[in-house]
Amino acid sequence: MNNLRQITTLRAAAVISSTIIGVGILSFPRYMALAGNSSAPFIAFSGVVLSFLSYWLLASLCQRFPKESLFVFSRRLIGRPLATVFTAVILILFITLTGITTRQFGDVATTVLYKKTPIEATIFLMLLVSLLSSRRNVVKFSYIHFFYLPLIVGSIVLTILISLKSVDLLNLQPILMSPTLEFWNGAREASYLFQSSFVITLLIPFMEKPKHAFRAGALAIIMSGAIYVLIVIASVGMFGAEETKLLIYPTLEMARSAAFGEGFLERLDAIFIIIWVISVYTTVYTTYYISAYLMQNLFALRDQSMAASMLLPLIFALAMLPPNVFEAYKWILHLGNAGMALMVGYPLLLWIAYFIRRAGKEASS
């Protein structure tokens, strides 16, 4: 326990990418097809670039304070009261995000997998597992992600590769589109999926090489971004843009239609769904962990495990709030909007404060 800096760059990258790959993969192609028809992969790609920029803004700031997390050094930059307010807003954001993500998971699970299991049971179990693992420290947290990532990425890539053979290239043309309002909306929605890369702020104080924080995130965003773009290519290419818009979970349909040879290896959706459950778990785990960490920070609690346990009923209640699947998706979009504003606005504010302070220091010396 003497050496706190145990998280390697690769492991940090694993945490970020397994966090990013989550509940959103199932419905992602539909949003992209709605925004840009056959240009959906291009929009997804632009979304990746956007989130890359916003990540750079955050990570390069955090790299300047390698010993502290964002919530600690923000107090020095903008003063304790303002920093507390922002931390509280981020806390609320992540608590809601955890709740709604779990809800989306429950919706899929009860529709497709367990028709008789009450949605409360699936949601509660998912939250319970996340709670139990959130009680561990950040190093174990990173190990868990590192362990699951190859499973998640491997099987998703396998499903995509099998589906790619039924892709009709005509469905993907024209590739480019002019930057209309829809294009930017689509790209913005795509970048929402990458917001959980925020977790890097927690990891930096424990990283072996904090200077590599940006590199870790870049690696993670490129990898998960490639997977998201490939998923859009595979499902829009397979179904066509119009059909993709009709499906609630195009990626799931894609896995359901994929087959090796004729009747030799069919029904890959079973494997896909199992892996998807794990990928949801890693996502919920991260947002849960961030919430617990922030809560401990904000209320100066003695340890994080208590904060995590206190959050469970709150998050469970939030998950049960949306009355139906459409509301849940509407909420997640609003949350994305709020998150976008916060994830870009807050680092910007801190950057400005940082420059002002540095200028002030130089002037005084």
Binding site: K116, L170, N171, Q173, P174, E242, E243, E262
Partner: protein, 408 residues
């Protein structure tokens, strides 16, 4: 020690609580308790016969459509479905030993009919193993919206299910008794799958049908099947759609023409034709390759197809001139090209008359000429009417590679 005791007690309690969770699935249903539906057939019921509904899902309501459908389901009887050739299973004609149970119900919609079905059988029905749905031509010519909605919405239905259009009553297909397979639907399934692998039919699952149906620049088509001699199933052509309804069907040889135009491999159709000088010749197509180009000419879409075929000479009779030189083969090739080209042009003309772009020419225009598309096409109907006046140019090239074991 005194401090340890409560902790280990708590641990034991927790483990005891975890035990029931580990015991299994919440909604497990044993396979013997499931009614697995393997195949469905859907027919229209004439308004006169439709008087009496079972009213399982509704009380008499004038706002609901008066027309009814009759659904026949083939349900697998647990324990009697043979696992391999010759292993158990009974005689399908005999009700007591047949591996499937054929149940017929009526309803206003497919879902209504499935609920009526559930009301009549004990075990919960499962559609997870549904592989074949046969609809009668009447249904296909009517509105498929309800059917598509239910099948798309239901998570048990897979996109790799076959949807077939039948000549005459669809329910007759549920009673066929083929000697090659014990379960009739599995026979129909393997027939369709094998016709795909031998180049007799394009891979046209219900998912493919849906995708084509939603695309603006393409019209959907389905296999059109007919019964011969009560037990034989004939793939009789393509049933093609326009505006979501079946409008017409092709001849079997035109399936080959369609596949040639789309360049779908492997080739599977043989053509019997009369040559100018060398009597009657039959060629079997082995490979198809098609190059397609699209242009906008004078504000109208224009498509050119170059079809390359590779074939065997299968049969030659009715003339004294032997086929023994490449010049003669070329002559046969030329005659073939001319005649098959007229089949293809005829097929295109026919679908143009019916406003059904089964070739997906509109998709080609959409992806290669997006500006033109955006200006002229605002929904699927726009393209289906523009398709009729689209100019199509077809070039054929046949290459005979083998002539068999006979010299001359």
């Amino acid at each position: 020690m005194t401090r340890r005791l409560p902790r280990s007690l708590a641990l034991i309690l927790m483990l005891a609580m975890a035990a029931p969770v580990l015991s299994g699935c919440w909604d497990q249903v044993e396979i013997e308790d499931r009614a697995l539906v393997l195949g469905l057939s859907i027919d229209k019921v004439s308004a006169k016969e439709a008087e009496k509904g079972d009213e399982v899902t509704h009380i008499h309501d004038d706002h609901l459509p008066a027309e009814m459908i009759s659904v026949t389901a083939q349900i697998a009887v647990p324990g009697r479905v043979p696992l391999g050739p010759g292993s158990g299973g009974g005689n399908p004609g005999d009700d007591k030993t047949s591996p499937v149970w054929v149940v017929s119900v009526r309803g206003i919609s497919l879902d209504d009919a499935m609920n009526n079905l559930q009301q009549q059988i004990a075990d919960p029905r499962y559609l997870v193993h549904l592989r074949i749905i046969i609809i009668s031509e009447d249904i296909a010519r009517g509105n498929l919206e309800e059917l598509n909605d239910y099948l798309r919405r239901n998570p048990e239905i897979r996109r790799r299910t076959w949807l077939l259009v039948s000549e005459g009553k669809a329910s007759d297909f549920m009673d066929v008794n083929p000697p090659l397979q014990r379960v009739p639907t599995l026979y129909i399934l393997s027939m369709m799958e094998k016709s795909v692998s031998s180049g007799k039919f394009p891979r046209d699952y219900i998912g493919t049908f849906w995708s084509a149906d939603t695309k603006w620049g393409q019209s959907a088509y389905l296999p059109y099947v007919a019964l011969r001699n009560r037990d034989n199933i004939l793939i009789k052509g393509l049933a093609y759609f326009s505006g979501g309804r079946m409008v017409n069907k092709t001849d079997p040889i035109e399936i080959g023409g369609f596949m040639a135009l789309k360049g779908i491999d492997p080739g599977g159709y043989s053509t019997l034709f009369h040559t100018n000088k060398m009597g009657i010749v039959m060629t079997k197509i082995n490979e198809r390759f098609t190059r397609t180009r699209s242009y906008i000419k004078d504000g109208k879409p224009f498509l050119s197809y170059q079809v390359f075929l590779e074939a065997d000479l299968d049969e030659h009779y009715g003339s004294n001139i032997p086929v023994d030189s490449s010049a003669k083969l070329q002559e046969i090739e030329r005659d073939f090209e001319e005649q098959v080209r007229s089949i293809l042009t005829g097929l295109v003309k026919q679908t143009q008359k019916d406003h059904s772009d089964i070739f997906g020419m509109g998709e080609m225009i959409r992806s290669h000429h997006p500006a033109y598309w955006k200006e002229h096409i605002h929904d699927k109907d726009d393209w289906e009417s523009l398709y009729s006046s689209t100019e199509v140019d077809i070039q054929m090239k046949l290459h005979i590679r083998r002539v068999g074991l006979k010299d001359q």
